[in-house]
């Protein structure tokens, strides 16, 4: 028989050995530091967060806020461009995400349009008689989202890295989302708190005569000023000059410390440029209140005593933990957009290890049950099928390790299920051989015909199952994706083991022994 060539045997044995080599690391409880298994090329299977414990956060950047901010700055760009070109305008304002204004005299509409488009060629500019409407195009929004997300991911990564979390994974998902995975962290409340702040820090002067004592929630602000709440005391307000003197981007470093009164505070260091600016402002305004504004709220507004250059302190009624967190978010930079938590899943280490144990028990029992059933149903052929089954499991584990797929709890169920379904290919073959034999063929012919005919059925049946697994993969989020990957790998390996390994063993055996007595006849 052609198929019994030595090359085939060598190839099968090599495949199995490679499988064993890649699967082996999974059977030892070694820690990362342990070098004893380093001679093996493979790595362990990646366990999902539901098995090793950890947190999963799905964040969404609030792009509407960003668009509004960008529109606001576009407004001031338009204002200064129009002034520079000496074009009179009135009623320049923003309403419903649209900037509008009216020209005063008979300036050329085309010229105004070209001035507006020179700010950004993607803007949508509409012009009716004397009025102009300007809004962001989809392309504008796309570009803004792209840069915002790139920055946001960077800042999120920095903040999480600063907490010392092990091997965090931070990925962009879809248009405006970020997936954060934190293995080993079962209570992500600190991380959530850190990501909950955008940490936009600004230093702005306070109004000289309108003092907090004069303000309540109904007070109106004079032009150029804005009324802001105090961070820790929502009933206290400050009248703050809108002009930002120094902002958080100019910070070089920040660290938690204690002030003179020994209460927790944050000390900061400014970049050379920031220091120069800070020195100028503080030098000119000695005796005035200088507000420290964080995310639109006044942390404190100390009175400037002397000129300060590059280092300073942020005081307020902080706890030690708060100064730690504030220093951390200031160091990492401001998030370009507020982050909304859309989804959170945390698994404690107890549940994770219980799940692994349950998975192991189910796998071992499943394997034993199926093997016993195959043995009592097919006798010697059952043993062949069982050899194929064991090879199949080795291949699944090896492939999962090789592609570093993530094994989840449903994924373990997928493996156990595959054990049940994997024998199907063998059953199809054996039943077919039996039929062929009963219809009067001699043993070897029956085996040959059985394999040949069963294979097309096996391929049809498995391909259709594969479609279901692919649909599952496309749907997949986290654990479900893991399940579909194991299912697909299981389908592939079970076809391979049945068509190649079982076939080889059966032919080898039937050449040496009279298999009539084995199972074909009762």
């Amino acid at each position: 028989m052609k198929s019994l060539s030595n090359i085939r045997l060598i190839l099968i044995i090599m495949t199995v050995i490679i499988g064993i080599v890649y699967a082996t690391p999974n059977f030892f409880n070694t820690s990362k530091q342990d070098q004893s298994l380093n001679f093996l090329p493979g790595k362990k299977i990646n366990l999902g967060l539901d098995l090793k414990g950890g947190s999963y956060l799905l964040l969404k950047a609030d792009m509407d806020v960003v668009f509004a901010e960008k529109l606001e700055s576009l407004l001031s760009d338009i204002r200064s461009s129009l002034r520079k070109s000496k074009i009179g305008y009135k009623k320049l304002s923003i309403q419903n995400d649209i900037i509008s204004f009216q020209k005063r005299k008979n300036y050329s509409n085309e010229k105004i349009k070209s001035i507006l488009l020179s700010l950004d060629k993607n803007l949508i500019v509409e012009n009716k008689l004397n009025s102009f409407l300007i809004k962001f195009s989809e392309q504008n929004k796309k570009n803004i989202t792209k840069t915002t997300m790139a920055q946001a991911i960077e800042i999120v990564r920095r903040r999480i890295d600063e907490t010392g979390t092990n091997e965090p994974s931070i990925q962009r998902q879809g248009v405006d989302r970020i997936i954060v995975q934190l293995p080993g962290l079962d209570d992500p409340s600190r991380i959530k708190k850190l990501l909950g702040k955008t940490a936009k820090l600004t230093f702005q002067l306070a109004h000289t005569s309108i003092l907090p004592e004069d303000l309540d929630k109904d007070s109106k602000s004079p032009p150029g000023f804005i009324k802001l709440q105090e961070d820790k005391n929502p009933d206290r307000f400050y009248m703050i000059n809108k002009r930002v003197m120094v902002s958080g981007e100019m910070l070089k470093d920040a660290s938690p410390t204690f002030d003179r009164n020994n209460s927790p505070s944050v000390s900061f260091q400014l970049s050379p440029l920031g220091g120069k600016k800070f020195g100028r402002v503080t030098g000119k305004n000695i005796g005035r209140a200088f507000a420290i504004v964080l995310d639109g709220k006044v942390v404190s507004a100390p009175v400037i005593q002397t000129q300060i250059f590059s280092t300073g302190q942020i005081t307020g009624s902080f706890t030690v933990q708060e100064t730690n967190d504030l220093a951390l978010v200031l160091r990492s930079g401001a998030l370009p957009a507020p982050m909304i938590i859309l989804e959170e899943r945390s698994v404690g280490p107890g549940l994770g290890s219980d799940s692994i144990l349950a998975g192991k028990i189910a796998s071992i029992f499943g394997l034993i049950a199926v093997m016993i059933f195959m043995l009592i149903t097919y006798g010697m052929f059952g043993i062949f099928a069982n050899i194929a089954l064991v090879c199949n499991i080795i291949f699944i584990i090896a492939l999962l390790s090789l592609i570093q797929a993530t094994l989840t709890l449903p994924g373990i169920a997928g493996i156990v299920l595959t054990m049940g379904m994997a024998v199907d290919a063998n059953v199809l073959i054996f039943e077919r051989i039996k039929e062929e034999f009963n219809s009067g063929r001699n043993t070897l012919d029956a085996i040959e015909a059985g394999f040949q005919r069963a294979i097309s059925t096996i391929i049809d049946a498995n391909l259709t199952t594969l479609f279901a697994a692919l649909a599952l993969f496309s749907f997949g989020s986290g654990p479900i994706k893991g399940f579909s990957v194991t299912l697909m790998i299981g389908i592939a390996t079970s076809m391979f083991t049945a068509i190649v390994i079982t076939k080889y063993i059966v032919f080898l055996y039937s050449k040496k022994k009279d298999i009539n007595s084995v199972f074909l006849k009762d």
Binding site: D50, I341, L342, E343, E344, R345, V347, G348, G350, A358, G359, I361, A362, F365, G366, A369, V370, F373, M374, I376, T377, Y378, L409, P410, I412, A413, G414, V416, L417, M419, G420, M421, V423, D424, V427, L428, E431, K434, E435, N438, S456, T457, D460, A461, T464, T465, L466, F467, A468, A469, A471, L472, S474, F475, S477, I480, F483, L487, F519, D522
Partner: protein
């Protein structure tokens, strides 16, 4: 050694004679599904509905008290709350409806429950799904099931005749729909894992159907002088042993997941146990029975593949 034989050789049951009874049975379970969906709807988990879920384990192993836990959590006024035992006596699953307000309120509620139960319970798992994500997952789930059905239908259409494709897809919808019905009737939590179970069931069921159809196609060619009725019955009988053995091994594995795989997987396993049983039933009684209503050509139109080896043709 005497081997186990679940199905004797050369069975010759007249399966198609049971067609009417089988259709009646299908009609009953499909109606039950429909009624149950109308009356009880589905018990959507937080994956689809949005909300908060916490798995707690009592630190005091001797006297975990569900009523006490219920009282404690009711002080939060969190709206609709469900608390149930989960797997072990010491473990509880607390589900809390989506809170009024934005995402911050949801996160705050998790923290409140945690701090309130901190003394007596450890948190084994906490989940929060926002309503936006819930709706998206629902859409994605419907999309995935439809995609699976469609691609299977197209594949069978290409590999067999269109009649096979229609019969297979009706059988498949039958299985998917009644599995959903089981979840509605038993009010089991319908979540992401359930979608996985349903799609796997679909995969298993179609596998079974294709094996029988494969044989039907072969026999249509082989027994050109026989009636369709005879050919269909013969095909079911010839594949019966394989059908039963594979069902048994798969069910063995599933029952083991059900009993030993932990509480998280037990509903998942239950859905698939039902799926394997109903999938086997539908392959024989729904898919093949539907074929009887078509007059499938026995001639060249049936895809003539190299199923019959050369040496047999010489005979």
């Amino acid at each position: 050694m005497k081997l186990l034989r679940l199905i004797p050789n050369n069975t010759n049951f007249d399966f198609l004679r049971l067609k009417v009874i089988a259709f009646f049975f299908s009609f009953i379970i499909l109606s039950a599904t429909l009624i149950s969906l109308m009356v009880y709807n589905l018990n959507y988990g937080i994956d689809f509905k949005g909300g908060i879920l916490l798995e707690l384990r009592s630190k005091n192993l001797n006297s975990p008290n569900i009523n006490q836990l219920r009282d404690t959590i009711s002080t939060l006024n969190a709206g609709e709350v469900s608390i149930q035992n989960f797997g072990k006596e010491t473990d509880f699953l607390v589900r809390i409806q989506k809170q009024e307000g934005d995402q911050k309120e949801q996160i705050a509620m998790i923290e409140k429950v945690k701090s309130l139960t901190d003394k007596d319970y450890t948190v084994r798992r906490s989940e929060f799904v926002g309503p936006v994500v819930g709706d998206e997952l629902k859409t994605a789930g419907i999309y995935a099931v439809s995609l699976a059905l469609l691609s299977i239908m197209i594949y069978i259409w290409f590999r067999f005749e269109w009649q096979f494709s229609i019969a297979a897809i009706i059988a498949l919808i039958h299985d998917v729909f009644t599995t959903v019905g089981l979840f509605s009737l038993l009010q089991l939590e319908f979540n992401l894992a359930t979608i996985a179970a349903i799609l796997t069931t679909a995969g298993y069921s179609i596998n079974d159907t294709v094996v029988i159809f494969d044989r039907v196609r072969e026999n249509l060619r082989r027994y050109k002088s026989k009636t369709h009725y005879f050919i269909y019955n013969k095909s079911i009988n010839e594949t019966l042993s394989r059908t039963v053995i594979t069902s048994v091994t798969t069910l063995l594995a599933l029952f083991i997941i059900f009993f030993f795989g932990g509480a998280v997987l037990s509903d998942f396993a239950l859905a698939m146990i039902w799926g394997v049983i109903i999938g086997t039933f539908s392959s024989i009684f729904v898919a093949v029975s539907i074929l009887t209503y078509f007059n499938i050509n026995k001639g060249e139109k049936v895809d003539d593949r190299t199923n019959i080896p050369e040496y047999e043709k010489e005979n």
